[in-house]
């Protein structure tokens, strides 16, 4: 189990009003994780552009930020995907779009395509900012899934690097796992007993995972386990929203078929309604 998952970080660079904020976030993360930053620009190479980027990133010189600008023209989705494979990028940072007027964020069409196809981890930022906002509370999924152990371990690593002090592990349990249908008092009681049993089982499974993580990463962090009976992928987003989490960490999708897009689940729910910054781990 590797505890340093992000050796290189990539970010798509487009000259938009958000450029500075996006770059600052990416640079800060690279410093925190000690990773190399790749700035991927879709378009031609030019001195002017490189100068501009180096001016923006000047303030990170003292932190020994190691970065490289990659120029490549073509379709944005293809460019970013191919570059991240060439440069072996571990974490790709993407910005989200805010829906007009209301405070709701969703993932734009390019970022969404990248998220679906990328083989590396993805960080979706809803509100990049120049000034650092502390990341205090991280919500991570505790699904029963082979990827979960790695995800939770990485979450503790991220928490350590970002100096977060609270991690909530949400175990989403599908209603179908409770084999009792609630009809009357008797079945309600049985359903609740079944639910308690599942909760205990899930909690002990997650505790087992936590016990495998080096203590250096788990001490000084408030760990909370929250079992939720509800729709996978959606409930955790909803929970992250009401618990005002700063970062939501989830397993990467296993494989996407046409049907998954038609009947959205797991990751797709999160993409339509970003509750907060989301880190999807591969």
């Amino acid at each position: 189990m590797s505890l340093k998952p992000f050796k290189s970080i990539g970010i798509g660079v487009a000259y938009s009003p958000n450029l500075k904020a996006n770059l600052f976030e990416a640079a800060r993360l690279s410093v925190f994780f000690g990773s190399k930053l790749y700035l991927i620009h879709v378009g031609d190479n030019s001195e002017k552009k490189i100068n501009m980027l180096s001016i923006i990133l000047k303030s990170f010189e003292k932190d020994n930020l190691d970065y490289e600008v990659v120029f490549k023209s073509g379709d944005p989705v293809d460019v970013i995907l191919s570059t991240s494979e060439e440069k072996k990028i571990d974490l790709l940072i993407l910005g989200a779009v805010q829906r007009e007027r209301i405070l709701k964020y969703y993932v734009g069409s390019i970022a969404r395509k990248i998220t679906r196809q990328a083989k590396c981890s993805i960080l979706l930022l809803i509100k990049p900012s120049v000034k650092r906002l502390p990341c205090k509370h991280i919500v991570v999924n505790g699904l029963k899934d082979p990827k979960t152990e790695q995800t939770i371990t990485s979450a503790f690593y991220v928490a350590k690097q970002l100096k977060s002090n609270k991690i909530t592990i949400v175990e989403e349990i599908e209603q179908d796992e409770v084999h009792v249908k609630v009809d009357d008092d008797k079945s309600l009681r049985r359903a609740n007993i079944a639910k308690e049993r599942i909760k205990l089982r899930e909690n002990s499974r997650v505790k087992e995972i936590i016990s495998h993580i080096p203590e250096a990463y788990t001490k000084n962090i408030t760990i909370k386990l929250q079992p939720i009976f509800g729709k996978r992928g959606y409930s955790i987003g909803h929970y992250a929203q009401i618990s005002r989490a700063d970062l939501l960490i989830m397993n990467g999708p296993s494989k996407m078929t046409f049907w998954d897009r038609l009947f959205p689940h797991d990751i797709e729910h999160i993409l339509t309604e970003l509750p907060t910054d989301v880190l999807i781990l591969q």
């Binding site: 009357d184 008092d185 309600l188 408030t222 909370k224 929250q226 409930s235 909803h238 929970y239 009401i242």
Partner: protein, 733 residues
Amino acid sequence: MSPSKNNIKDFFKTLPKNIFSGFVVSLIALPLGLGLAMASDAPPIAGIIAAIVGGVIVSILGGSHVTIVGPGNGLVGVLLVAITTLGIETAYVAIMCSGVLLLLLGFFRMGALADFFPSSAIQGMLAAIGLIILGKQFHIMLAHKIKRADTVDYLLEIPYTINDAVHYENKGLIFAALAGILSLAIMLFYSKIRNKYLQLIPAPMWIVILSIGFSYYFELGLHEPNPIAPEYMISGIPNIQEIIADLPTPNFSGIWSFSFWGSVLALTLIASIESLLSIKAVDKLDPEKRRSNVNRDLKALGLATIGSGLLGGLNVVTVIARSSVNVNQGATNRSANFFHALFLVFFIVFFSTQLTRIPLPALMSILVYTGYKLASPKVITKIFSIGKEQLIIFFVTLIVTLKIGLITGILMGVLTTFIIHVIINRSFGYGLFIRNLLKPNVLMYKEQGDKDNYYVSVKHFCSFLNYFRLKKHLNAIPEDRDVIVDFSLCNFVDDTVLENINNYQELFAKRSGHFDVVGLDMHDTETKHPFASRRLLPVPNIIKNSLTRRQTSMETLAEDYTLNYNPEKKKEVPFLNNFAFFSTKQINHIYNNLSDKNSDITLFDIEFSEGEFIAKEVIRKTMLHIDLNFVIPEFTLDKEGFLEKVSAFAGFKDIPIENHDDFSNRFYLQGENEAGIAKFFNDDVTHFFESNPYYHVESNGNALLIFGKERLASIKEIKALYDFGKRLKEVIS
């Protein structure tokens, strides 16, 4: 769980009670059954057969506890259409088919079906049914039988019938009309007269007894024929031998027509809606606070309907009026339903000839009264008070139901409601509703911590379209627990949901649970009614139209505790500014202010924001502020491991209190003046904190700020918070 031995013992112990209430209910069921069947143009005995078959089957197989089943008034309209267009033999087949569909609804666990209809549309439909019953039977009540094609014509001709009735020449007709008017008077004034002996027999039975007595008086006393015209007497009550001999032969000839399946669908729809609504209402009345198994009941009703149709009876549904009488008479289990059926058999076997002595107008007056109850002006004023837009839904449903039919009517009601919701929210096209319709927008979990209450958060919108999701979650909570439903992420909540939420509140209150709704205070309404739909405003109104339920509860709480309550927003809050907690936060306003006489202790909801511009987050909490008249050291006290978040205090460390390891372990205490704080936390104060629930407590030198969860508090939590603050003040002063 109670052992089953006790159940059997209890069953026999309560048997006499159940037999008695079954008897009283059968007294109502008899005239109502006859009347409802006749109003549907079916043979009068068909209603009784439905009650008997239903009573036996549902009492054995059903899943509810104190309900009574039988022919329902909601079905009169549909049955009338079915019988006149299909003929009675084919109508029996339609009834059986609808029974099969009901059975399937039960098997596929579709008990939630009734939730998909907005309450105003259901009210409109019921009112239309009421008018159909009233319009048709009013003429018979005044001994003026007419036959019209359209139900509206019946209503329009009521004035002419009254005019005709005043000018009757025929003595037989005059007596018939008098019987009808007198019976209507009995129905109207029965509930007003409080007499122990009078109330022993239900009003419909008084009508039956009086009219049979009247007939015997003429026959045996005066030796004259009954003065009421013979065509206005009930005819064709067969005796038991005839019923068995004349089992109807179902006629399958017309079953492939459009009108046949239309009738089947309408019967199923109305039967299920009426039953489900009744079961829900009766569950609230159940003294033993049991929860009915709706799907099992639907299956039993379906089976009973099949049986009833086979024997020549009407649809079997759960009926609210008879069920509530059943509860009032002290019924405790399903056996009451069984005995009500048994007594009906007894009446038919022994008194079937006496029943022919009842004049038709008298019987129909019972139905006129029922119809009036369904469509009374009170219903309209109630709907109007919820909102003007509800009246549109109500009348569209009502008029379309009367003019075209039940299914079209209710569908139009649903459509109108949806259009009105779209207009109210100005969300045309791919807006709020369509985008979020299929999302699982309800989140429920048990809040971890000292009290494990349930927390339910609803996102986007909550209306009749997706209420079933919320309901599914709420139904999974035992009614003796604490529930908090949070609508603050919800842009729109409609009246159907709020009405249902209100039902849950009543149910939880009766079963010693707590059901609180938070996050509706920022929503705007049209009217003051608690069920008025609520829409989240981008810019909240300065003057609120109405108080939410939480606000009215706070108002009553203020009265109970002799506090002053002020729901209005206050922007200037200088007294909060020098608390460390707010040093990084921007206070928007406080509202729902509760304060005691000298305004020493103030409790309020507060809205503040963290961050700025796009990173801005708006947070609402409930807080308690205690003004002290003396100086104490500045400190912050919180649960251990929680406080590192408060960046303003970074650099301070946990101050240990000597001889109180438990306190030091469990609490995180910070402040500059360590010696002063250590002195302030003497034995009394530390014991107080050790033995009370966790709150965040903060002092700014001469005042205390106390708050709990990261959200608005429920009424129960407000009480607890207030009590905590009051006792804390006593301890430290």
